[in-house]
Amino acid sequence: MTELPYVAATELAALLDAGDISAVELTETLRARVEHLDDKLHLFLKRTDERALSDARAADARRSSGDRLSLFDGVPIGYKDIFVTRGVPTTCGSRILEGWVPPFDATVVERCSRAGLPILGKLNMDEFAMGSSTENSAFGPSKNPWNLKTVPGGSSGASAALVAAGGAPWAWGTETGGSVRQPASLCGVVGVKPTYGLVSRYGMIAFASSLDQAGPLSRTVKDSAALLTIAAGHDPLDSTSIPQAAPDYLEGIDRGIAGMRIGIVKEIESGDGMQPGVGERVQEAYQRLEKLGASIEEVSLPSFEYGISAYYLIAPAEASSNLARYDGVRYGLRSSDGSDVGAMMARTRAEGFGDEVKRRIMLGTYALSAGYYDAYYGKAQRVRTLITRDLERAYASVDLIACPTSPTTAFKLGERTNDPLAMYLSDVFTVPVNLAGNAAISVPCGVSADDGLPVGLQLIAKSLDEATMFRAAYAFEQDLGWIDSPEGRPPL
């Protein structure tokens, strides 16, 4: 049997039902693993060991009396520290929220708790989810378990690293421009960006509201499908939540992809910032999909290349407004400086926010300010329309679009911290999906020949067509067999 930390949640559920393991044993094992990992990788901003154990004990009691809350009752989970948790400090990776104890649970947390998932703790992230490496965390960066000198990606970097290194079968991350898929790709795990509106944003600290969406990270495609099933579906607390119940994404996931039409993007060329090893793996992946019975055809997405430009106007603009509430009045940090309330707010924000957050607040404020709105924010919203139209046009002839998740594998810590633009460009293949609102997944396709680090294949689906996306990703994963092989585990 695979060592417990690497057993998938779907399999753990069977072991728990069979009585082969208990939720307490599982939680203890993961706690010990996390203890070991946290020293090396710096994953948790807050661990909730005691609570996880008492949750696990309750789960065991329920199972033995035959009334488990769900198939996964007792399978522990970690949350990116962007999810608000009642009674558990939530910082969003920022000094400005240090010490804040929320009086409520995010809908995602509440639904997972209702399914019986013990909470392991709160995971590190780029401050307010702004970043692609977790280096922007106010509490120090996390590291990639594949190579401790490299970043795990971001902003949900610690969620991806935790799952990759066997600290938990699954974890929740969030996306605004690729913050689940990119770290999933860099850490060699599965990461999902659901259709905008599928998972409630209630209790997910806002970065850019029209783009934000929670997404599962896990080692297997099935686990992500299962976790999404637990949390997806209409939430009356979120006005942008799609008013329909979500299906069971495990159903029909193994039907294969014979006859499926998969588009590859004409405008994405190797070179052009793409690491050769990444290009190779992705090309192989296309061939594998074809081998599995899909037809591969070229689609054109001419507006794709404008995604980054539009994104880095829209996201900072919304962020500048979303982050205005951190002012030292009601919660979080308050500067002792400042003789009047305006000065106190400005000092609090100067002391409490990190460089990248300040940069984006400045950028967003500028883009919205009088005289620039039309040229920047207004235009960016129109580009967003173009990108959506391009994708819609493409889906007239294909069921899915395939491309790399990230143009490179994990980069070195500190390599891009002084060049914001270079950092932004690592989101080039993920950002357009957030702008259009579609669903997408990153699934591992092995390691790059040039550095031995994981490469992710991205599959982009139509809005609300997660089922097709999971089916293809699952077929690919099973045929590749990488994640279940010793090569699919980081050397840690």
Partner: protein, 489 residues
């Protein structure tokens, strides 16, 4: 204002009115809308602006706004959006206000107002929905913002649904402004969407006032006047402000575009603290709320739920009850008074017009003295109807009835019981009165002679004497008849 001033200068006023809606819960969360609770006991993650919280629009607030818009003859937008208005202020939990910008729920309406100035049509630019802020209290110094040491924030009010109504600059005098606010208040009251209490801040009026020389085409400098807490202070503030601007223009002073605050005590306006930075609200579509696109059916349903509006009611009062415009104006000044009158008129067996005098003259005076609305009065419309009927039947005199009304107003008791308790009954017994009349004639021979001589004038004096002797209980009509029969015929 002197004639010359009015002739030489032209005042232009546009009003911006904020109305707190009387909903059960706040605009974007389930916290109850209340007044006067302990501080910060009506808040939740949403209205405190806690991280992760999200707004969901209150259906009744949206419908109330559409009602107001339709009642103001506005068009309902096919596509309406909430926007964020971004500025920092400690009583605003998110440091942005969810409001509406270029796509308000209602636009392009109008209201007609009538008064001594004639009839004026005031255009309604827009009707939009937004959220209210919290409340600051200033501690130290004089307790005013400028010299306080620190401030304390209460967020109970934060997130209360607020409708903003903006008029076109169609108002040209303080009197018209007052009439407009009165009309709007009556209209809002009839819709049942707000408490419309200016003193408690559930109706807030700001005015943009400019004055220019008559005949000039360029607009005057616009001054925003705030802090008018009653209809009366709207009138006083605007009168002061137009006079101030007129004088400034006359003396060649340059007016500046600014915000001025009305001071109730002194009756003057004074300049607010100038802002360091000019406003730049960075409006953008609120991404946490989806657009509103009211369907034709929805609009129709709301339209058909509208009650009779004050203007229509006034017309009906004239037609149905044959009332004069002065009476109608008083009776329709509030919906509750108009309702009260109609209930009394329905209960009354005679001509409805007869109860009007009792309401407009006597009841109204009592209400004013007590400082209450008719809804809070102890007397019921049916009781008033019965009081008038007692007079009609001759059971008590009109003078007695006024005393009875005073008691009814104070106690809520029935008029019959009060009259009996006070031993009131009208003396209509001819035999009994005959004796008193004879006595009065005997005691006032000079006056009696004058009347006999054809001078009817002093007859009233003799009637008064009879009334005095009978402690007001004599039927005055009968007394009159008896005196005439003895002296004139």
């Amino acid at each position: 204002m002197s004639m010359t001033a009015t002739d030489l200068y032209e005042t232009t006023v546009g009003l911006e009115i904020h109305v707190e809606l009387a909903t059960a819960s706040k605009m974007f969360c389930g916290c109850p809308v209340t007044f006067g609770q302990e501080p910060n006991t009506r808040t939740c993650p949403v209205c405190l602006g806690l991280p992760g919280s999200l707004p969901v629009a209150n259906e009744r607030a949206v419908e109330h706004t559409m009602k107001i818009a339709l009642a103001l003859d506005c068009r309902i937008a096919e596509h309406s959006l909430f926007h964020r208005k971004n500025y920092f202020y400690p009583d605003m939990p998110k440091n942005y206000q969810i409001s509406q910008y270029d796509l308000p729920l209602g636009y392009a309406g109008a209201v007609e107002i009538t008064g001594g100035f004639g009839t004026t049509r005031v255009g309604i630019t827009r009707v939009h929905l937004e959220e209210d802020t919290g409340k600051s209290i200033h501690v130290g110094g004089s307790g005013r913002i400028h010299d306080s040491h620190y401030s304390l924030e209460d967020f109970n009010r934060a997130g209360t649904p607020l409708v903003e109504i903006v008029t076109e600059p169609d108002i040209h005098s303080a009197e018209e402004a007052r009439a407009f606010v009165n009309e709007l208040r009556a209209l809002l009251e009839s819709l049942g969407v707000s408490d419309v209490r200016m003193e408690e801040g559930s109706l807030r009026v700001d005015a943009n006032v400019s004055v220019r020389r008559a005949g000039e085409t360029a607009h005057g400098v616009k001054v925003e006047v705030k802090n008018m807490n009653s209809v009366r202070s709207v009138g006083r503030a605007l009168e002061y402000e137009q006079e101030r601007q007129r004088k400034a223009l006359e003396s060649g002073e340059r007016l500046i575009q600014e915000t001025r605050h009305f001071d109730e005590k002194s009756g003057t306006t004074s300049s607010g603290r100038a802002k360091e930075v000019s406003s730049d609200y960075r409006y953008f579509a609120e991404p946490d709320l989806v657009p509103f696109e009211p369907t034709a059916e929805w609009i129709e349903r709301i339209k058909s739920s509208l009650p009779e509006l004050p203007a229509a009611r006034r017309e009906r009062f004239v037609a149905q009850y044959g009332l004069g415009s002065a009476d109608v104006e008083v009776l329709t000044s509030t919906t509750s008074l108009a309702d009260w009158f109609e209930a009394a008129a329905a209960a009354y067996k005679g001509e409805p017009k007869k109860v009007v005098n009792w309401i407009v003259a006597d009841l109204f005076r009592l209400l004013n003295e007590a400082g209450i609305e008719v809804g809070a009065a102890k007397i019921s419309p049916a009781q008033l109807a019965r009081l008038v009927e007692l007079v009609d039947s001759g059971a008590i005199s009109g003078k007695q009835a006024k005393q009875v009304l005073g008691d009814m107003f104070a106690t809520g008791n029935d008029p019959e019981a009060i009259a009996a308790e006070r031993g009131m009954q009208q003396i209509s017994d001819e035999g009994a009165l005959d004796l008193v009349v004879a006595e009065v004639i005997e005691q006032n021979p000079g006056v009696a002679d004058k009347v006999r001589g054809g001078n009817i004038g002093p007859l009233g004096f003799l009637v008064g004497q009879v009334m005095k002797k009978t402690k007001g209980q004599a039927n005055p009509g009968l007394v009159n008849d008896l005196l005439r029969s003895k002296l004139v015929e």
